[in-house]
Symmetry: C2
Subunit: 365 residues, 2 copies
Amino acid sequence: MKTTEDKILLSHGNGGRIMHELISDFFVKHFGNRILEQQGDSAILPVYAAALAAGPHSGSAGNNKQAARGKSGLPEIAFTTDSFVIDPIFFPGGDIGKLAVCGTVNDLSVSGAVPLYLSASFIIEEGFPMKDLETIVRSMASEAKKAGVLIVTGDTKVVNKGKCDKLFINTSGIGMIDNASRLDKKISSIKPGDLIIINGALGEHGMAVMNARESFNFKTPLKSDCACLNYLIRDVLDNSSSVKFMRDPTRGGVATVMNELAGMIHLGIELSEPDLPVGKGVMAMCELLGFDPLYIANEGKVVMVASEKEGSRIVEVMKKNKLGKQSAIIGRVVKDHPGKVVLNTETGGKRILASLSGDPLPRIC
Amino acid sequence: MKTTEDKILLSHGNGGRIMHELISDFFVKHFGNRILEQQGDSAILPVYAAALAAGPHSGSAGNNKQAARGKSGLPEIAFTTDSFVIDPIFFPGGDIGKLAVCGTVNDLSVSGAVPLYLSASFIIEEGFPMKDLETIVRSMASEAKKAGVLIVTGDTKVVNKGKCDKLFINTSGIGMIDNASRLDKKISSIKPGDLIIINGALGEHGMAVMNARESFNFKTPLKSDCACLNYLIRDVLDNSSSVKFMRDPTRGGVATVMNELAGMIHLGIELSEPDLPVGKGVMAMCELLGFDPLYIANEGKVVMVASEKEGSRIVEVMKKNKLGKQSAIIGRVVKDHPGKVVLNTETGGKRILASLSGDPLPRIC
C-alpha cells in the first residue's frame, strides 16, 4: 500500500484518492484480472462470446480467455455492485431503498449498458421496525418498476442490536451492453476541445442528507436528486455516437470524477464556474459550512464527455427528459496541465480542483 | 405478514420458517416477478434468449417476456447474492473472505450453473486493522483462484466506529447454465423411492464457529467445512442426469433444507439416523449444548435428491473428490406424511424434524 495507515479510515470509503489507493493497491492487486482492472462503474463480462465459442462446461472463467476473444456479434453482460450504508435511512427525496436501486441502475447505465436485473441483500439490525422495512421495500419495488428492472434474487441477514446501524442494503446489477455502446472503449478517443456535460444541478443529494442528519433546518428546501438515469442516458446514446465517457458523480462529487478522468486521459480539464448549475439551497448550505458543491455527492447526475460538435445537441436531448431540465455544458478537455482539473472562477481566476482526500461527509450513500 | 412481530428478530435471518415467511410475505410480495418466485439459490435469467431475439435495446427486463421465451439453444445466466456477517471473522477452517467466495460459488453450483464471476462489496468499520483486511482479501483471492472464478467488480464503504461489527462482505455471482443442467426444472420429477444424498459430515461449520466464538476449548478439534463445491457438483452432473435437486444446507442445516423440499414436492422425506455422517467433535459439542447436528449450518456440503437406481453411483463419483470422501445416502423420499420430514432414529423410533423457528446460532454466516 502507498498509504501508510495501518487502520481503515473513514476516508477509505469517500470515493477520493485514498479510497482509490486502497482499491488499486489492495483489491486489484490481490484479485487482479483484466476485467477488474478496467475499473469502470461496471465490469464487462465476455460471457456470450465464451458461451457461443465453447459452451458452459468449457471450464472456469480463468480458462476461457480464448473463447472470450471470439467475435459473437452478441451483446455482453455488464455487472456491478454497491453497498448502501447511508445515514439517515430516510431523507428528503428518497430513502436507502430508492438509493440502492438508483445507484446500481446508474452504475450500469453509465457504462453504456441497459440495466435488466438486480439482486437485493439486506443486513438488518435486530429490533428494526417492520413498518420501516416495508416502506423501504416498497420504495425499492416502485423505483425498480419505474426503471424497468426486475429484482430477481436476494438475501437477508440479521445481526444483534448494536452490531450494525439499522439497515444496510447491497444491490448488484446485471445489464446488457452491445459493442457500439461500450464507453470503456471510447475513453482513448477523448481529445482537447471535447466538452464536459452534466444533466443538472450539483450537490443536491449530499446537502439534503447532511441537512436531514444534522437538522440544520434550512428554510430553502433541500431535496436529494436520487433518480434512475437509465432512460435519460439511453436517449443520449441513441441520439449521438459522440459520447466518449460517462460517470455518475456520487461520493467525491464532480471534482473527484473529473480528477479520475484527467488522470486516465493524461489531458487537462477546465470547468467553468459561471456555467455550473447549483441550486440556491445547496449554495447557501455550502457557503455556511465551507463545502464546495463540486465535491458533494449526487445520486441523479451523470457527467459526460462528448465531441465539441455534438455537445449542444446532447444538451437539447437531455433537456427533453425531466431529469435533464438543467443540463449544461460545464467545461472542456484541454491540452494544458495534463492530469489536472482547473476551475475558471466567476471572478476570472483559476483554481486547481484537487482530488478529495479527507471525508467531510461519511455515509452519504 | 403472517408473523405478528412488528420488529425484526434474529430468527428473521436464521434460514428457517420465520425467515421464509419474511421473504415470501414481504420481499416476494413487493418485488414479485416470475424469476424471483422460483426461489432457488440462484435466479435463472433469460438474458441470452432475449438478446438473440431482440437485441439489447428492446426495452426493459419487464418488457422482454416474449423474447425470453425464444429457444436460443444457448446457456442462460444464473445470478445470486449473499451478505456475510459471520462472528468471529476468523475461525478454524476459514475466515469471512473464504466464506464469502465459497457461499456464492456454492449457491450458483447447486442451481446447476457453472460459476464464472463474482462481485465483492465491503462494509468496513472505521479503525479495522489493515493487516486483517489484507489477510481476508488474500483469502478471497486464493479461494476464487481454486474455484476458477474471477472477482470482477467491487465496492468499499466505511462506517463510523460502533456502527458495524468489524467487517461485512457481500458477494454476488454470475454463472452460466445450460438447459440440461437446470435443476429447477427437475424438482417436479421427484418421486417416492428417490434417494437423499450428502457429500459428508454434518454441522462442522456451525460448531466450529460456535466453539471459536464462545471459547469452549473442546479437545476434539472442530474445523469449518467451508469449501467451494463447484467441481464436485460438476463431476456429479457430468456423470448422472438423475439428480433432481441440490441445495447447500447452510443456515438451518439439513433438516431445514429437507423441510423446504418436502413442502415443495408435497411428499414425505425420511432420514436414517444411523446413516448420517457426523464427526466426533460435532457430536460431542451438540450433546453438551443440546443442539441437533441436523439443524447446524454447513458451508461445504450439498444435499441432493437422485433416482434410486443411480444413488450408489453418485456416491462413488463424489468419494473420488476430496470434498466427498464421506458421501452417504442418508434417506429417501416417501409417499407417507406429505410435506413432513421424519427421522428414523438409531433406536428404531421415529421423530418429526420440524422446520427451524428460533435462532440458536445467530451470525453463523
